[in-house]
Symmetry: C2
Subunit: 223 residues, 2 copies
């Protein structure tokens, strides 16, 4: 029985200059296989699953700027890998937009809406990761791990839009995240765009660690 670690690592990237930035996932295709796979590998004897996931991403994918990493469910169907019984402990990883990332030759970032053929149940793992990310965007500060250190609100809005799959109102996003003390104004301003326009104020996330910001939508404790 094998135990493997698989990571769905996301980054918001500009796929082409014309269109809006997109949520992308890191995939690898060793030995020029036909289908792409999630990066991962076997756990070592002296490491936890999460350190193993981080090590494998650094060693094999040269990805060292994973700002957030969390466990997804374990995939344990006896037949998920035909050859040997393999239990996959899966992870969601997030890389900020300003982190350099030059994946090796056999790896590449793929827009989540244009995924190629994937091995085994890796498509389901990516779907679970997307779902988890979308859910946590609404009640935690998880976007800190996708955003650059400083950013104008319009850019943050694009990040949310790419991760959620639908437009969000930049105005209200600022109000919500400010009220919850998720983001703070830095006092600095950015550069105005190519076609003129008011220079934007720059914001930053208050924390660099996951924090639940809206714990009880309902049934909150008295007082």
């Amino acid at each position: 029985m094998r135990v493997e670690v698989l990571s769905a690592v996301f980054q918001i990237r500009e796929v082409d200059a014309a269109s809006a930035p997109m949520l992308c996932v890191l995939l690898t295709r060793p030995d020029s296989a036909t289908a792409w796979s999630l990066p991962g590998g076997d756990i070592a004897d002296d490491e936890t699953l999460s350190t193993s996931a981080r090590r494998l991403l650094a060693e094999r994918m040269d990805v060292r700027d994973v700002a957030h990493l969390e466990q997804l469910v374990v995939f344990s169907d006896p037949d998920r890998v035909p050859t040997t019984r393999t239990i996959a402990s899966t992870y969601l990883g997030l890389v900020p937009t300003d982190a350099p990332s030059a994946p090796p030759g056999d790896a590449a970032w793929h827009g989540v809406d244009r995924l190629p053929d994937l091995t085994f149940d890796h498509a389901a793992i990516i779907a679970a990761a997307r779902h988890r990310l979308a859910a946590k965007l609404s009640y935690t500060n998880i976007a800190f791990a996708l955003a650059p250190a400083r950013f104008p609100m319009s850019e943050l809005s694009e990040i949310y839009c790419a991760a959620l799959g639908y437009a969000v109102d930049t105005t209200n996003l600022l109000r919500i995240l400010s009220r919850r003390s998720v983001i703070v104004a830095t006092g600095t301003v950015g550069k105005t765009g190519r076609a003129g326009g008011r220079p934007p104020a720059l914001y930053a996330f208050a924390d660099n660690e996951l924090r639940v910001t809206d714990e009880f939508a309902t049934l909150r404790p008295p007082m």
Copy 2:
């Protein structure tokens, strides 16, 4: 390397007649060990982790009425079990109040606020399970797995109170769960209590499967 399955199984039980019902967890102490443990064991070759968890609970604990079972995080610290490297895939299980449960001699239900000494990291697993349960009570119909088939609102209120650890307003609970179509009135009425009082209407959960009822507290999709 061993892979074990451990389950934190909860049931709301009347510990003593005088006090309010309490959230209890099923523990076992084989061979009269000093510390108690969560039920579990090794996975078989042809089963998934969840079927393994269900099988082990039925075989060893004679618990067959697990209405809801879901994965918690995997505990993978190399030293969590001193003797052999053991990765624990943990589960949260819920048993309705009206399910018969006569655990075998080496097992017993323990109130979560009066836990005995526990082996290894089992206390942390129970804490994670409680946390998950409390969170899901506020945005899913997960209480279906704790409540009996039919119940007066006062009883459901006690269940929520026991699981959350604080009082909930029965009146508002009815309104919230009705609006979300989590519970429905059955049209029947229960028996009045020992000291008189109006006989309560009986309600039932609309579904017997986990459903997210309040997906987006905020940032909901447009329209």
